[in-house]
Symmetry: C2
Subunit: 432 residues, 2 copies
């Protein structure tokens, strides 16, 4: 990559599948990647551009000339074209849009007007549609005659009525197995889900999983077919949503392979900052019992055990709950059942592990009352942790918030407070 000859670099890249070439480029240091983009300019292969992860594609696009981007955008399906344009600064974006043919431009502007995480952004505007009275043979002949206008990849033909409303879909494998004379209406499958362009991409992904879809039509408010979403884009959404959940549970707002130190700091500092204050609230609770600790230093030795175990039990419940909500397993009676289950699990865990801790503490400090204090405090903390672990995410969900974001903060802070308060409070009552 460092020879500086575009021809050689291109030859190297062409030897790979675009996805592998993109992997190779992602291994390069940031500066070499920018240089490569500049070097190749209009020759930068569009397929590789699409395969790059967001943060790398942004770097490349920033270093490509306008002409290269125009060319790429013109040759792509509308969803992919939007993907590239959305990375651009607004003035560059409008400059490139202005140089496009009026029809393509209007189409792209419509796509870009949709919310970034909506079905409208995910969909492409090319699709194959036919009236239900067409026969299989007519549909195939039409596709062959208009091969150039077809989307690059598609899995079904949509059946539309005269008002362009979707009334069904014929998967291509049904076209394959049906005689030419059969009308499409006769083999069409019902459309199971209605996807509007404003639907959140997470909802779209859920519907694809639930109904095992490979593609689905997108219809506007008046029921007219306006585009289609295909499974390859949905798989990316599934991964994205999963990443968000996992990171949010650990208090990270975003992360990618090319994060700089600055972006890492930015995505993690907010939760640590909140944690500074919550940690001092816990310290405040402890300081209320300074006198007790002063006369009974074993309390300082044992108190981290109470909150560590309670915090972990709570985090376990939280992970199970957040995942259950993400997989739509916790609605209606299932939610009630889960709350009861978590309550009972917390009671059992509390009894088992507080007994274990009490026994170990007794062998260490030979003080029955101390063992009793820690056992009672732990059962209380486990109960609190278990209930918070399910009620906080369910509550956040009911409020329309993301159940993964900030639920750890609430949980761990309150568990610390409950743990220290019950352990040191009981000790003050029973040991002094």
């Amino acid at each position: 990559f460092e020879t500086g000859k575009p021809g050689e670099v291109l030859e190297n890249l062409d030897a790979y599948h675009p996805a592998d070439a993109a992997d190779l480029l992602e291994q390069l240091p940031r500066s070499v990647l920018s240089e490569t983009a500049e070097l190749l300019g209009e020759q930068f292969p569009t397929e590789i551009l699409l395969e790059l992860r967001d943060e790398y594609r942004e770097i490349v696009v920033d270093n490509l000339p306008d002409a290269a981007i125009s060319e790429a955008v013109n040759s792509l399906d509308s969803d992919d074209a939007a993907l590239i344009l959305e990375d651009l600064a607004e003035d560059r974006q409008s400059a490139i849009l202005e140089n496009m043919e009026i029809r393509d431009r209007e189409e792209l502007e419509r796509v870009l007007a949709f919310d970034e995480e909506s079905a409208g952004r995910l969909m492409q505007r090319d699709f194959l549609a036919a009236p239900e009275f067409w026969t299989v043979g007519q549909a195939v002949d039409h596709a062959r005659a208009n091969a150039e206008d077809l989307p690059d990849v598609f899995f079904e033909i949509y059946i539309i009525d005269p008002a362009f409303r979707v009334v069904g879909a014929v998967p291509l494998h049904k076209i394959m197995r049906t005689p030419r004379s059969v009308p499409l209406g006769q083999i069409a499958e019902e459309i199971e889900v209605e996807i509007g362009p404003d639907m959140d991409q997470e909802e779209v992904a859920y519907l694809f999983q639930k109904y095992d879809l490979t593609s689905a039509p997108v219809v506007d408010e008046s029921g007219r077919l306006t585009g289609m979403v295909t499974i390859d884009d949905v798989v990316d959404v599934i991964q994205e949503e999963n990443r968000e959940d996992l990171l949010a549970l650990s208090g990270v707002s975003s992360a990618g392979g090319f994060d700089t130190v600055v972006s890492s700091f930015r995505s993690r500092a907010p939760w640590l900052l909140i944690n500074v204050f919550t940690a001092f609230i816990a310290s405040g609770v402890i300081s209320m019992f300074s006198a007790t600790i002063d006369s009974y230093v074993a309390l300082a030795v044992l108190m981290p055990v109470v909150v560590a175990l309670g915090g972990n039990a709570g985090s376990q419940t939280l992970a199970v709950s957040v995942r259950g909500i993400a997989e739509r397993e916790l609605s209606g009676s299932a939610a009630r059942r889960a709350i009861v289950r978590e309550l009972l699990t917390a009671i059992i865990n509390g009894i088992v592990f507080s007994a274990a801790v009490a026994v170990i503490a007794f062998f260490w400090f030979a003080d029955v009352r101390l063992s009793l204090v820690i056992a009672i405090a732990m059962i209380g903390t486990f109960l609190w942790a278990g209930l918070s672990g399910i009620l906080i995410p369910l509550g956040l969900q009911r409020l329309g918030a993301d159940p993964a974001v900030s639920s750890s903060v609430f949980l761990l802070t309150t568990v610390d407070i409950v743990g220290f308060l019950s352990f040191l409070g009981l000790a003050t009552l029973l040991l002094l």
Copy 2:
């Protein structure tokens, strides 16, 4: 569901899409679900059986008569049939297999012989294949003539040589747009990935994502085509692997919407049990400094701040690293870059947040030396947390272990030890 009349129940269920009917059944209490399965018996709709989540399907299958299961298994593609059979106790499984036609039975036994998380289990044995000299027209005519033998759903025709080795694939949308006279070999696409029946399902899912596949052929050691994997099954795998990662990071071995209290306890107790011991190790560290705490009770008040912040910073790094490994972003030079980034992020976080904590501690206790002690201890703890957060998962991965499992235990235990040791140790040196 409680009328006890199979006809009415069936009518109710038939009114819904199988996926929705399955959702409905999953809302029922365990006992009612068993009764419904018993009641419907052979009439239990196979499509709904497939849509149920694993733990619910197990309950239904346990309560269906052998005849009902035989019928379902006979009518299904081999991957779905295996899904139902694998839920059965071994003696019931072999009883049902014995009653099948010898060819179907051998096929199913071959599928069941593969490892549960392998491509062999994921694949179905029905597919459409043709030699490369066939024309588009011949392929379509063949499919129409043999419509009944085709798989229920498929997206491409595999091109095979005389030895049954796959040499390419023709997506159905290419069949649609190509004139009948064109030979398949001319429009075939290269097979980008070689999937063997023993490949781990996680690897299969990764390849599908990377190359945007909708289906892929599975070939045995000699290169012969033996089955195909389709995207709907892969999407389930992606969800499963994501769930495992998220739960493992919080110390839960498995979870599902129908978990009983017993299974919840079993999946969480191991990590809590380990945590009892690690918590006491941390207590042991604190008890080494009992004398120091005795004469300086503010240390007991502040020490949880050090380990809470350090633990959270470490969990953040861990989440980012585990996710990066899962998305294959951390190999080769990218891993080195990530280690450097985490080190620098830890230094910056350490400086920023130890300063914040030191200032708050100063306003509280008005003791410069105490603030200095907590600041130094925190920087050290952040460094340790950041490095463990990336090195532990990378190390586990290199050892061939799952980077998400047990890395939290290691991290949080060592952070506690480092935090208490540095804070209380420095205090003993500088404050007494």
